[in-house]
């Protein structure tokens, strides 16, 4: 490069720090002060599924050796203290998945998105929703959907991991503050009678809407009717939910101090990014500890977007084409994410729960629905996956569990196994052929 004088040369490093956003945020960025609780009141089977986008640098993710005594890979080094509490699983994938950036759409469903004739996109129920259905009567909130952009996203670019029984995406929450309010802030109409009245009124309104839908449905064509049925079912589910809420009316929401929660962190601000993941995991921890919910699907970043701890263009890096410099940067993002997982496992491991630890009754599934490959190809095979916790539920951790990436049981087998450990009494899910051996 041509520098126009020594002055400019001296000033050069400043350029890096010059964007206004970095100037603003560096003043505010602070590590979280949040501390986990010593005790959890009661053990319940729980599952949290944590998804990161754009795959990983597979060279640095995948351990070179297998079995219990495997050597931790560079990316997973940060999880060293928990090595007896997790299993790295390699070689698995959803046989019907197309790969590319649609990984989040099928990560928990295993669906063949092109399966239904005449439809561009058909998804099916995700495993978290199967489990949520088992526990929904026992918790205030059946399951949480979290993501770094609210809503459900478009087909093949899902912002949510969760799909209901008709394959309809369940929209995600991205704001820590709104999530906190939903979990822990008492409803405005604190007057019991008024709240009951409101529920009552909402239910009679929904009743009326159902009647109306039925009448309208009779006059529609077949496909129209299907569309309307989706609405009808949603209305019905909402009515059931309100019905369940009536049961919770005398149970106050748990009292949780917001003091150390950085609730204003913004998911898509490069400098808040690290704080945002922290606070969302802190809220997940609190939601489970207070038994507000037992099932969480948390998409840390959308596919084809997102960054790690700073302003990296994670998506661009995933198209590394085998370039060593890009691969190194990609591994940096992977280590950043792994360190967030480590912090979350620290919480669960340090919280006592009866004679055991909260980690023992909580299963953490961590991984991606895409493999960014050795040459930057976006493959649905040999996904980066890790399962932690759940020993008290019957999971056994066996170090690095390696499957052949061409001939392996479907990933749904793993999902089914995790569901069975968290209370699902079924041996069927998606394309699963049975429980996954080697982990229980």
């Amino acid at each position: 490069m041509v520098l126009r004088g020594a002055g400019a040369c001296l000033a050069l490093p400043l350029l890096e720090a010059m964007s206004t956003s970095s100037l603003i945020s560096s003043a505010h960025a602070a590590p979280s002060q949040f501390k986990p609780y010593d005790q959890s009141p009661k053990a319940h089977p729980r599952l949290i599924c944590c998804y990161f986008s754009n795959g990983v640098n597979i060279h640095q993710w995948k351990p070179k050796t297998t079995g219990v005594d495997y050597e931790l890979s560079p990316t997973l080094k940060t999880l060293e203290t928990h090595r007896n509490d997790f299993t790295v699983i390699s070689g698995l994938g959803h046989p019907k998945s197309d790969g590319g950036h649609s990984g989040a759409d099928t990560w928990l469903t295993g669906a063949d998105l092109d399966a239904t004739p005449g439809s561009d996109y058909t998804n099916s129920i995700s495993i978290d929703q199967r489990i949520a259905a088992v526990h929904e009567k026992d918790t205030r909130i059946a399951s949480l959907q979290l993501s770094d952009l609210s809503g459900s996203g478009g087909a093949l670019h899902s912002h949510t991991l969760s799909f209901d029984h008709s394959g309809t995406p369940l929209p995600s929450e991205d704001s820590p503050r709104r999530l906190f309010e939903r979990l822990f802030v008492p409803d405005q109409a604190s007057d019991r009678m008024a709240t009951l009245q409101r529920y009552q009124q909402q239910r009679s309104i929904l009743d009326a809407v159902q009647e109306e839908s039925k009448r309208l449905g009779r006059r529609l064509g077949q496909d129209d009717r299907k569309k309307l049925a989706e609405y009808y079912e949603s209305v019905r589910t909402t009515e059931q939910r309100i019905e369940r809420l009536v049961g919770w009316i005398d149970v106050p929401k748990p009292n949780v101090d917001a003091k150390f929660l950085q609730l204003d962190s913004q998911p898509n601000n490069a400098h808040d990014r690290s704080m945002w993941i922290d606070v969302m995991l802190e809220l997940s921890y609190l939601a489970m500890l207070t038994d507000t919910t037992r099932v969480i699907g948390f998409q840390w970043a959308r596919e084809a977007a997102g960054y790690g701890g700073g302003g990296e263009n994670h998506h661009e890096l995933s198209h590394h084409g085998g370039d060593p410099a890009m691969l190194e940067k990609l591994a940096g993002v992977d280590r950043f994410y792994a360190s967030k997982l480590a912090r979350f496992l620290d919480f669960l491991a340090s919280t006592r729960e009866g004679d055991a630890r909260m980690l023992d009754s909580t299963i953490v599934l961590y991984g991606s629905g895409m493999n960014s490959g050795e040459g930057g190809e976006h493959s649905p095979k040999d996904l980066p996956l890790l399962v932690a916790g759940g020993k008290g539920l019957g999971l056994k951790h066996s170090g690095h569990l390696a499957f052949d990436k061409e001939q392996h049981p479907p990933l749904s087998n793993l999902l089914l196994t995790l569901a069975q450990k968290t209370g699902l009494e079924s041996d069927q899910f998606s394309d699963a052929t049975g429980a996954l051996s080697g982990i229980s």
Partner: protein
């Protein structure tokens, strides 16, 4: 199958084998708690039917055997057969199947017809079938497709849910409330638009949100009691420059912080943006939620070029002078470059300053919302008050003013431009204030429109009033006449509410909370939330007048029909094409048509993606927030101009005029324009601009942030200009290589050419890449370049490779650069017009266009092209006229 709970017994475990959903074996009432739950099988008719219930498409086996099979066997199955299975595409043994109504099969057949038609297959070196046989096969495929479409027509989804924008606009027109729909989940687009009935799904969360929204909308619309008191709090930023400056407002000791900005009399002067340079008022809350106005009294100080050069020259001479003394051996070198450094400030367009610019941010519950950004178009001596409306809640809040003028931080200026003495546009702030809540009247119009007279205190009269309210409201909400039975049904909710609230007190308040029950029910009714077009008789597919009115208004306004349109429907006027056309012209002249620009053109041109992967700020320093909003406005303005002024629609692509404002004229390095509003400017020869293909909106969304992507650009042009979908890459195709062995400075083009050497990639990329290469003179931020930069942070150095924008189109035309590309579009104008027509039909009807529709669309396109002698026929308005008077529009 294991059923997790009784409520979920519908469709768990969709069989992935392509089998239809299983029908329920049984259904009936299930009693759970106090609530009767309705099982789905009793939902009028079976909702998901087994294939046995549905008549299947009769297949044309004989036609296949006579026309297709011989050709396949002779020319195709050698490679596309059991031995080779080239591209996973087998044609032996009728592997494609004849179920043309299934999208997987239909897509493959379309591909077969396409490659045969365009002589892509069989490969050139193989024996070729004769043209007549190919034509016969292609016609057969097309006939099969039309037959399948017609067979399925009655089953195609047209029932569509209002999307977020439509909901917002409809609520605005129906109730008079601006509801913030950003809490609703994003609507997924399909076939390019987010008003596609098939893709718009519903979930329980949505129902909950609709319920909440309806309640909130009515809470805001209907009021009780006297007009609330108004606050008017003015913040004087000169009173302090730290958070310790507390000033009393209402019950709050608010922080008023003028920041590290200099004082000039009793104003604060903002020089640049940094974390300690904002002006803000924090730690207070407004007493009542509602609409408020934020006012800012401000002016701009715009330094002249002379001032800039004088300052830069002084600083540079001082600094270099010192350096020459300290490093005598570099003296000559420094001296040589000194003039060059100063010259930069004399010449760079950056220093043709415009007025200062301000961004206003309000925090609601900790979430920041930028409520406006504007040029401070007022001088120091004639400061002006700028006003912005904002919806406030009663949580703790803050107002922040941020300096928003962007001087691109080029290497030559960044060290100097942040110095406080450097002459930059400055913004003077006298004061800022918040006033409100604002009502247009008391009770507000929203209230008066629903409840138009005093609320009586006699029970029977109250019932009558409720009936009158619903009788007025429901037909507008449902966009059609409503039967007395439907009103009576809602009256039950009114009465139920009375019994739960208790009718002992017949006050205004109880009436309003009572009437909200049926009104909420109307706003969560499927008749409101869905554009439903029920069948009346089996013999006709023609829509009712009211359904046509709704199609029209959601097409052009993304909102409900207005009274004039509903009246026309009631008078049966909309079956007359002349009336339809005059309605269209009336609607196009209405301000609500901006929704059409935003939603149709905005999605066609991909404007919603602008900024989602923006040019990297360290590489493309000229790009910034103001540019980002301006490039979107530019493309919308182009569409508006071509539509409103009845220009030839080819001007969307190729024009010697361009829509510009001040910052864009600088950004594109065109002759200066003053002011922030977009206006039409004539372009000089070789301006490299004119038309959507030269807009930074399109050019940035088809780049990767750090580099251009000729593939994305080529695909964009194929899809959005020529109307062909190049399809998806083959599995595991990978991306282009970041480096090319043997080439030190490998351009994007070099890197892509490596990729194209793979046979499986070449077939499609031959179509895509030349189109993208033609735009290689535009960098990833949409600025014009002659070379690809390999210097520090992408700067262009002398020896960097010169852009090669040449290529050959599939038809053999050689092109070089954007002008040739535009000429190619002009030459293929029929393709372009067909593409626009196809997209607009899709948007207007809310479903994908089928092969069966193509006859009608072809006719429309022919009408537009036919009269080249009167070029005014090729206008967007004419296209809209043609669409609304076509049978596709008036039939379901």
């Amino acid at each position: 199958m294991n059923l997790p709970s009784i409520g979920y017994r519908t469709s768990i475990g969709v069989k992935a084998t392509g089998q239809a959903f299983r029908v329920l074996a049984s259904g009936g009432f299930l009693r759970i708690g106090r609530c009767w739950i309705f099982c789905l099988a009793f939902f009028g008719c079976p909702l998901r039917s087994d294939s046995a219930d549905t008549p299947t498409l009769p297949i044309d086996q004989a036609g296949y055997e006579a026309i297709v099979e011989p050709l396949f066997e002779e020319y195709c199955t050698k490679c596309h057969g059991p031995d080779d299975a080239e591209g996973d595409f087998r044609l032996d043994n009728n592997q494609l199947g004849l179920a043309f109504n299934q999208s997987a099969a239909a897509m493959k057949w379309r591909e077969v017809a396409n490659v045969l038609n365009s002589h892509e297959m069989p490969p050139k070196e193989e024996p070729q079938p004769d043209a007549e046989a190919v034509a016969k096969l292609v016609d057969w495929v097309r006939d099969q497709q039309i037959r399948a479409d017609q067979f399925d027509r009655k089953n195609k989804v047209v029932l569509r849910r209002l999307n977020r924008n439509e909901y917002k606009n409809t609520i605005h027109d129906l109730v008079g409330i601006d509801y913030d729909v950003s809490r609703f989940p994003q609507d997924p687009p399909a076939a390019g638009f987010d008003n596609n009935g098939r893709a718009l799904s519903s979930s329980p969360l949505q129902v909950e949100l609709y319920l909440d929204a309806a309640q909130a909308i009515l809470d805001e619309a209907l009021v009780v009691g006297d007009r609330p008191g108004v606050i008017s709090w003015r913040f004087e930023p000169e009173t302090g420059d730290s958070d310790s400056n507390r000033v009393r407002y209402g019950e709050y000791n608010a922080i008023v912080n003028g920041g590290a900005n200099r004082l000039d009399g009793n104003t604060r002067v903002m020089h640049h943006n940094s974390w300690d340079r904002t002006i803000n008022a924090r730690d207070f809350a407004v007493p009542i939620a509602g609409t408020y106005t934020i006012g800012v009294r401000a002016g701009s100080i715009i330094p002249s070029r002379d001032e800039v050069v004088r300052y830069a020259e002084r600083v540079i001479r001082e600094q270099r002078g010192k350096e020459m003394i300290e490093q005598p051996n570099r003296r000559n070198w420094i001296e040589q470059h000194l003039e060059e450094e100063i010259d930069y400030f004399r010449k760079s367009r950056i220093f043709d300053y415009g007025p200062g610019r301000l961004r206003v941010i309000v925090h609601h519950n900790g979430q920041p919302e930028t409520i406006g950004e504007f040029d401070v178009d007022a001088s120091k001596d004639a400061m002006k008050e700028f006003q912005l409306p904002v919806k406030m809640i009663t949580a703790k809040t803050s107002i922040t003013l941020e300096y928003a003028y962007h001087i691109p931080p080029e290497l030559e200026n960044f060290a100097i431009q942040r110095q406080d003495e450097f002459p930059r546009p400055e913004v003077m702030i006298d004061w800022f204030e918040i006033k409100g809540p604002i009502y247009d009247d008391w009770p507000p119009t929203s209230h008066q429109r629903l409840i138009d007279k005093p609320i009586p205190t006699v029970e029977a009269d109250r019932r009558k009033l409720a009936q009158a309210i619903l009788t007025r409201f429901m037909p507008r909400a449902f966009r059609r006449p409503v039967s007395p039975a439907e009103i009576e049904e809602k009256m039950i909710l009114f009465e139920n509410a009375a019994s739960s609230i208790g009718t002992s007190s017949l006050t205004d308040e109880t009436f309003i909370s009572q009437i909200k029950a049926p009104l909420v029910a109307v706003l969560v009714s499927p008749n409101f939330l869905y554009l439903a077009e029920p069948y009346r008789t089996a013999s006709t597919d023609t829509l009712t007048q009211f359904e046509v009115a709704s199609r029209l208004s959601y097409f052009l306004w993304s909102s409900m029909p207005d009274d004039a349109l509903l009246r026309a429907a009631a008078n049966q006027e909309l079956s007359d094409p002349a009336n339809l056309i005059s309605q269209v012209d009336r609607m196009l002249a209405d301000a609500r048509v901006s929704a059409f620009h935003q939603n149709f053109a905005g999605q066609w041109f991909g404007l919603r993606d602008v900024g989602s992967n923006p040019p990297a700020e360290d590489l493309y320093v000229h790009y910034g927030d103001h540019i980002q909003t301006s490039i979107v406005r530019q493309s919308l303005a182009l569409f508006d101009d071509v539509l409103r002024n009845d220009r030839d629609m080819l001007e969307l692509v190729d024009s010697d005029h361009e829509m510009l404002n001040e910052v864009l004229s600088r950004y594109y390095e065109l002759p200066p324009v003053k002011g922030d509003e977009m206006r039409r400017v004539e372009l000089a020869e070789n301006s490299h601009r004119g038309g959507i293909l030269t807009h930074a909106s399109m050019l940035t969304t088809t780049s990767n942030g750090t580099r251009t992507s000729p593939v994305k650009r080529g695909t964009w042009i194929l899809k959005n200009i020529f109307g062909t979908d190049p399809g998806l890459p083959v599995a595991n195709a990978g991306d282009i290589a970041p480096k090319v062995p043997g080439i030190d400075k490998a351009t994007v083009r070099n890197r892509l050419e490596i990729h194209r050497q793979l046979a499986q990639c070449a077939r499609c990329h031959r179509k895509i890449d030349p189109l993208g290469f033609a735009l290689e003179n535009y960098d990833a931020s949409g600025r014009y370049r002659r070379q690809e930069g390999f210097g520090y942070k992408g700067r262009i150095e002398k020896a960097d490779p010169v852009i090669d924008a040449s290529g050959e189109l599939p038809d053999g035309t050689k092109i070089n650069g954007v002008e040739d590309l535009k000429a190619a579009v002009r030459k293929n104008d029929a393709l372009f017009i067909r593409c626009v027509a196809d997209k607009m039909f899709t948007y207007a009807i809310g479903r994908e266009m089928l092969t069966a529709d193509s006859e009608v669309i072809d006719k429309v396109v022919a009408t537009l092209i036919d009269s080249k002698s009167t070029p005014h026929r090729r206008t967007l308005r004419m296209l809209i006229h043609q669409i609304v008077t076509s049978p596709i529009f008036s039939q379901r």
